[in-house]
Subunit: 316 residues, 2 copies
DNA sequence: ATGAAAGCGCTAACAC
DNA sequence: GTGTTAGCGCTTTCAT
């Protein structure tokens, strides 16, 4: 490994001068600069990033904490983050937790040990109380709203989004509405959708709420369960278009007509929804990611609300 | 920033002892070990990763070079990589190139400057000749086959896959077959599909080959172009189920019956294909990613061929 | 304009 | 078992 000393020696200058050339500092004579650059070229030299990061105490690297690495909502956020990170020469490192608290903490300690300048939290395993202390070591941006002043947010107003989705379904004449979620009541998001449901439709009828749905085949299973109910729902609000697609497929396999006998509303405006003509609530997760990344780069603690929109297609 | 010296001082031992405790070395008395751990706890100390990486010359971080950050084929490979990296405590950093040669070289120099232990190349902008010299600084694994002994591969045999797909269509009675690709002839993959086409169907009829298709809406546009041809194809092989989905949607909007009047074959077995019942060639990209990651971790230069399979659904 | 030298925080010979 | 010390490769005062 050729290093800055080798270059200095070969170019007949001090390491300081080499460092100056490397960092485009002023006060280096044209001749020496040329000489140094020539040697760098010849020896095919690249500065060691670890040494630079060590001394600077900064890495221009941001971590993205995600629950699972097979979730298309996360993909959308990541795409948004990459859109912006590349513009500003930041590196992005993907950190899957599987909702393991200790794993998540390991990642936060990368903030402390100076390996990461900032962390974007797309979903959270630990309590805020245990996360917040890390905010003093680097920027933390959450994709879920929190009032804690230590962390910035680029978030979707989930509660109002759920409320609006249910109102949308109600206005279409539905009173028997079921819904699915990715996680159970351990998730904030689940709590919010339940609250919104209660607000619009009151109590949740037995069997009208299914958790742990994420994929197309989860959707098929959910469709089967929901449509086997004696008093089955006239509308289903799915957490994602892939789940919605699975429900759709099961429904038509049972000759249930959509939207007449069953309305389906998805989320996140994914390609499958476009292909199958499923109405969807687009939370604009790519924008969430882009804004989260901007906040990280600006080291800002702002709270940015990202608007969502309902896209009406043929399934409602 | 509290460091190893602070800990040593406060615990009344040398830095070596602290380091030994940190790295679970033998030859530390129970008392000192306890004392050190207590101070570490008290001072909420975390070792600086940059310093460790610097001295070790290793980071346990692997880079994944991708062309675009909005491509679902890449998502699948990344998911595979993450599946394995998390098992072995490696970090994964995503490196989008937009097929810019200089950007890609910047990433390869991260191998040289010791920031990355290895790189997985999902798609390539530079010539192999310019990439190969970097192989001496770390492991390079390609998701496209190459005979160069310096780099390992976890690859799909694209040529045979294309050949088999076209034969599949031919056996179904099609002779007028069109196809789409993501890139033009600058891509190896495009060259291979053209060669396979020639092999099976001979010359490509005017307008039967469309490049630069990636998304659902690209598919819709492709469908429009292809089906507006005077002598339009009886089958289309799309590069991805999303593109296939777009073609499908356009076709049925024009009252073209599938598969009777038009057969559609997609790729990569994506959710939209499952939802829309589109037949597909599954290249098992998740497995490609998993194997690529394993090779990186083992610092292997093996050539691993990943099998593909054709999934027959209702669109062919 | 240039260089010597003091670190950044850590590991690992080597000595005891 | 434990500590001293010499680096890893770089940046940055502070002289000159």
């Amino acid at each position: 490994m050729t290093n800055i000393n080798d270059i200095a020696k070969k170019a007949g200058v001090s390491v300081t001068t080499v460092s100056r050339v490397l960092n485009n500092h002023k006060y280096v004579s044209h001749e020496k600069r040329m000489a140094v650059q020539k040697v760098i070229e010849e020896m095919n030299y690249t500065p060691n990033k670890n040494a630079i990061d060590l001394i600077r105490g900064e890495t221009k690297t941001i971590g993205v904490i995600i629950p699972y690495n097979n979730n298309s909502s996360f993909d959308q956020i990541l795409h948004g983050i990459l859109n912006k990170s590349i513009e500003h020469d930041y590196s992005v490192i993907v950190l899957p937790t599987k909702y393991k608290k200790d794993k998540e903490l390991t990642y936060f300690s990368m903030l402390k040990n100076k390996f990461l300048d900032g962390i974007i939290l797309t979903s959270r395993a630990n309590e805020w109380e245990t996360i917040l202390p890390f905010a003093k070591y680097g920027t933390i941006i959450s994709c879920e709203y929190t009032q804690h002043p230590e962390v910035g947010c680029a978030y979707v107003d989930r509660y109002h989004s759920f409320l609006e989705a249910f109102h949308f379904l109600k206005m279409k004449g539905h009173s028997k509405v079921a819904f699915t979620t990715a996680r159970g009541v351990e998730s904030n998001s689940t709590l919010k959708i339940i609250k919104a449901y209660n607000e619009v439709f009151g109590e949740i009828p037995q069997g009208y709420y299914l958790s742990h749905c994420s994929t197309f085949s989860d959707g098929e299973k959910a469709g089967k369960k929901l449509l086997s109910l004696d008093d089955y729902p006239s509308a289903i609000y799915a957490n994602g278009d892939e789940v919605a697609g699975g429900i759709y497929k099961y429904a038509i396999s049972k000759k249930i007509e959509i939207p007449h006998q069953l309305s389906i509303l998805g989320q996140e405006n994914q390609p499958i929804g476009e292909g199958m003509n499923i109405s969807t609530v687009d939370h604009q997760l790519v924008k969430v990611g882009e804004n989260a990344c901007n906040l990280i780069i600006k080291k800002s603690k702002q709270k940015l609300k990202i608007p969502y929109k309902i896209i009406q297609r043929e399934s409602t």
